[in-house]
């Protein structure tokens, strides 16, 4: 087990280097000069342009910029934005917001998704199962912006329960609505995955044995059926946590949540290489950690899986 974890941690290093290099390179290849764009339609003073570019280190060739960046990164220095702020500050402002939002959505999709999936699986072919099918199909087929718009209109403009956008991004209560929108798609996937898995496993030999042993139904379902059915769901949830953190750009935009998605969108618009790379570094770490945890959870869920 320990050796497995160490091996996985070591494997992260090339993945980490590769992704940061790719992102840095791609940002650099984007057309357009971010410093020139500060002047907009207006006339540019070439001497000032050159001086600012020099100050930001943008006049050096890209590989030199990359080496400098990586050198600083290993010392914990994420660089500065073009507005001369520390990228680390930008990240530490945005990350807590997105962690809150993503965890809310995550809890929501696990609790609701697994429960719905479980009951649909147990009542296969009954009206609850069919209702679940319709509901999940509906959620999967409605694009997030549409769902966000419907929620905004119904709950804010019509019912006036909440304000249309989030006024304070750190307030958990205000983040509930965006979290519902953000988690709804994954909720549908989780419910469907759980249901299928339950339907498959309910006919398995060990369940029949457990029932024959005379175990109470609650225990059969709880410890034997549900636990063994969770492996595909956990696989999905692991990658989904990363997706929720980085992929909330649309939801954060609709509800004006000041999280990672929002900051990333802003940085991409301004072509700020350092900020984009900084966020991607953090997201890569989140992904890697989540996938490691998923692998370890397999062993916990299914005793037949062993890591050496």
């Amino acid at each position: 087990m320990g050796r497995f974890v160490i091996r996985r941690l070591l494997q992260m290093i090339p993945v980490f280097l590769g992704t940061t290099f790719l992102i840095f390179f791609m940002v650099h290849m984007l057309p357009g000069d971010p410093v020139r764009a500060m002047w907009g339609d207006k006339a540019v003073d070439p001497a000032q342009l050159a001086s600012i570019r020099h100050n930001l280190g943008l006049d050096k060739p890209w590989y030199e910029q990359y080496l400098t960046y990586m050198g600083h990164l290993f010392q914990g220095d994420f660089g500065t934005t073009m507005g001369n702020r520390k990228v680390l500050d930008v990240i530490t402002e945005a990350l807590p917001v997105t962690v809150r939002l993503a965890l809310l959505a995550f809890v929501f999709e696990i609790v609701l998704g697994v429960t719905i999936g479980l009951f649909a699986g147990l009542r296969r072919g009954k009206s609850f199962d069919k209702g679940t099918l319709i509901l999940t199909l509906l959620l999967i087929s409605i694009p997030v912006p549409v769902l966000g718009f419907i929620f905004q209109t119904v709950f804010a403009t019509q019912l006036r329960w909440v304000t249309p956008t989030v006024q304070d991004s750190m307030n958990i209560g205000q983040l509930v609505l965006p979290a519902l929108v953000l988690g709804s798609l994954s909720l549908a996937y989780v419910a469907r995955l759980t249901r299928t898995s339950i339907v498959e496993n309910i006919r398995a030999d060990y369940i029949r044995t457990a029932v024959a042993k005379g175990l109470p139904r609650r225990k059969v379902i709880g410890t034997h059926l549900l636990r063994n059915s969770m492996i595909p769901v956990v696989t999905f949830l692991g990658t989904d946590l990363g997706a929720l953190m980085g992929g909330a750009i649309v939801t954060e935009g609709i509800f004006n949540v000041k999280g990672v998605g929002n900051a990333l969108y802003h940085a991409i618009n301004l072509n700020e290489g350092a900020t984009i790379s900084g966020f991607v570094v953090v997201l890569v770490l989140v992904y890697l950690a989540a996938s490691l945890i998923v692998d370890l959870l397999y062993a916990v869920l299914d005793p037949r899986i062993r890591y050496a």
Binding site: P31, G32, M38, K42, K130, L138, T157, K258, Y265
Partner: protein, 542 residues
């Protein structure tokens, strides 16, 4: 029974779908009568994260610019109609438009309590003009004698003081320019010319995050990417004392999110209505909707540097193309009345604006258009493309303009979208456009010279078309040497007639301010560049 239960669920699904669509439009149209006013009330305004620290000469984009303008006041500023008025200056005297003597009013203080003196201005300008201090607006000081010493084209500055600025005493200083600039007083209204307190120079980076100015509002907090909060300054000595307690510049990445907040009274004053809500905003907001012309123009320019667009006859082709565009219909339908058809190269409201300098060439006349294009030898390859940036909401009108040209003249016309503003600018400044490009101009100061010299003068750095006309340049040079601003405006008006003859850029329309405000505020007016008159906004008693 199986069939029946399935049908039940289908009905339920349809009901959900119907309920979802039924709640698509709402909004209230309330009227805003004047109620009791809370002088300490704070209102919120739709904004976005400023790109740079809040230093007077470092705010080129709108977001930082309008916040800086509330924090700092210079010698003069502009009233809501765009006319200059004295603020810190008591008087600015000159006889030759080259040598100026400035007298300051006493009683002005910075937000940290220190007095605003002649030295505050001179230090500020010297610092901002210095190329080493990396201020975006540093070339605003280029008229001042000695500018090239602090801001050489190459290499390091030889000194940190411009020789053209001399402090006489606390309330007097003199400015010497390299030549006469009759509208220099208009330029002084730009926020880059604001004074800076002594403490600023001890740590400019720190005071860019935590600015201390002399304007109607003082800085309270900057929550990055969220909001910037200002509070009214009770010792403000200007003529426009705030009628409210402060402003929260709230950050929105999406304009339609801000609009929804406004409709539900969670946001007080809107910057600009997003394109999707333009059709309905007057209905939603009733008499809280704002619709007025602002000092900005949209053009499409020709790549005059391409050989096939040169030659005397090609001017006729360009005029013909201008006449092939149905500006009235496009502004009414595609743009939902958010623009006003242009009939000159200068937006109304600017000093020296004259209606109709474009004449018949800006009137829609397909028959005449065809005739002119033929007389000029036709459009090269009978095809034009219009380069524009796809991230600015331009696609709809570019396509409409192309349709109009195609239908009325048979010339093939296509939009050529570039992914974003930076990319489009890159192609345009490198002069790689093949036939046409979108160009726009937002005024820096309210004189026609700003719309003309800076855009159409030979070699002017915003001259994207690469236009060069000896006649235009001659008149512009005369105008710049004039000693009164009225004379300058007059001469530039003459220079503008040359543009109608050559048509390097087709004026399309003027921008309008399409905005609105919530039920919580009243007396919201907008100035001629589309900013609300912040100090006049009154917050209603709750």
């Amino acid at each position: 029974m199986r069939g029946a239960s399935q049908a039940k669920w289908v009905v339920a699904a349809v009901a959900v779908a119907l309920a979802a669509t039924a709640c698509s439009s709402g909004g209230s149209s309330g009227s805003s009568g004047s109620g009791a006013v809370n002088a300490q009330g704070v209102f919120s305004y739709q904004s976005a994260e400023p790109q740079n620290p809040l230093q007077p000469a470092n705010a080129m984009e709108n977001q930082g610019g309008r916040i800086t303008m509330q924090l700092f006041k210079g010698l003069v500023d502009f009233d809501p109609t765009g006319k200059p008025r004295n603020q810190v200056a008591d008087k600015i005297e000159t006889t030759d438009a080259q040598h100026y003597t400035v007298t300051l009013k006493s009683g002005w203080t910075f937000h940290d309590g220190t007095p605003v003196t002649a030295q505050s201005f001179v230090d500020s300008w010297n610092w901002s003009a210095n190329v080493k201090n990396n201020q975006i607006n540093s070339d605003w000081f280029k008229d001042i004698a000695g500018y090239t010493d602090v801001h050489p084209e190459k290499g390091d500055p030889t000194t940190d003081k411009m020789s053209g600025l001399k402090v006489v005493d606390d309330t007097h200083f003199t400015i010497e320019l390299t030549g006469p600039v009759s509208y220099f007083q208009y330029k002084l209204g730009y926020v880059a010319f604001a004074p800076l307190p002594k403490v600023f120079f001890t740590d400019p980076a720190k005071y860019g995050q935590n600015p201390i100015g002399d304007g109607p509002y003082k800085f309270v907090s900057w929550e990055h990417n969220k909001a910037i909060t200002l509070a009214s300054y009770d010792k403000y000595a200007g003529v426009d004392k705030p009628k409210n307690g402060g402003i929260v510049f709230r950050n929105y990445t999406q304009a339609d999110a801000a609009y929804k907040d406004l409709v539900s009274d969670s946001l007080d004053v809107l910057d600009q209505v997003d394109p999707t809500d333009l059709a309905s905003y007057k209905n939603d907001l009733g008499d809280r909707a704002v619709d007025q012309v602002q000092g900005a123009i949209q053009n499409i320019s020709f790549a005059m540097y391409q050989p096939e667009w040169q030659g005397v006859d090609k001017a006729k082709v360009r005029q013909g193309l201008s006449m092939a565009i149905d500006r009235d219909t496009i502004t009414k339908t595609v743009l939902h009345g958010s623009r006003q058809p242009a009939d000159s190269w200068v937006a109304p409201g600017a000093l020296g604006y004259k209606a109709g300098t474009c004449g018949d060439f800006c009137k829609f006349d397909p028959a005449k258009a065809k005739e002119l294009i033929q007389a000029g030898g036709g459009v090269p390859n009978n095809k034009i493309t219009i380069v524009y940036n796809a991230d600015g909401g331009h696609k709809e009108w570019v396509d409409a303009v192309c349709n109009s040209i195609r239908q009325s003249t048979g010339v093939d016309c296509l939009g050529d979208p570039k992914p974003d503003f930076k990319t489009a600018r890159d192609i345009i400044t490198k002069k790689q456009v093949t036939s046409m490009m979108r160009t726009g101009w937002v005024q820096d100061y309210s004189v026609n010279a700003n719309y003309l010299r800076d855009v159409y003068g030979t070699g002017a750095s915003a001259n994207d078309a690469g236009y060069s006309s000896a006649d235009f340049d001659k008149l512009a040079a005369q105008a710049d040497k004039a000693t009164t601003v009225d004379k300058t405006a007059d001469l530039y008006q003459q220079a503008e007639t040359q543009l109608a003859k050559d048509m390097p850029a087709i004026p399309l329309w003027y921008y309008k301010t399409n905005s609105g405000y919530s039920n919580n505020v009243q007396n919201v007016k907008f100035d001629n560049v589309g900013n609300p008159v912040y100090t006049d906004v009154e917050v209603k008693q709750k």
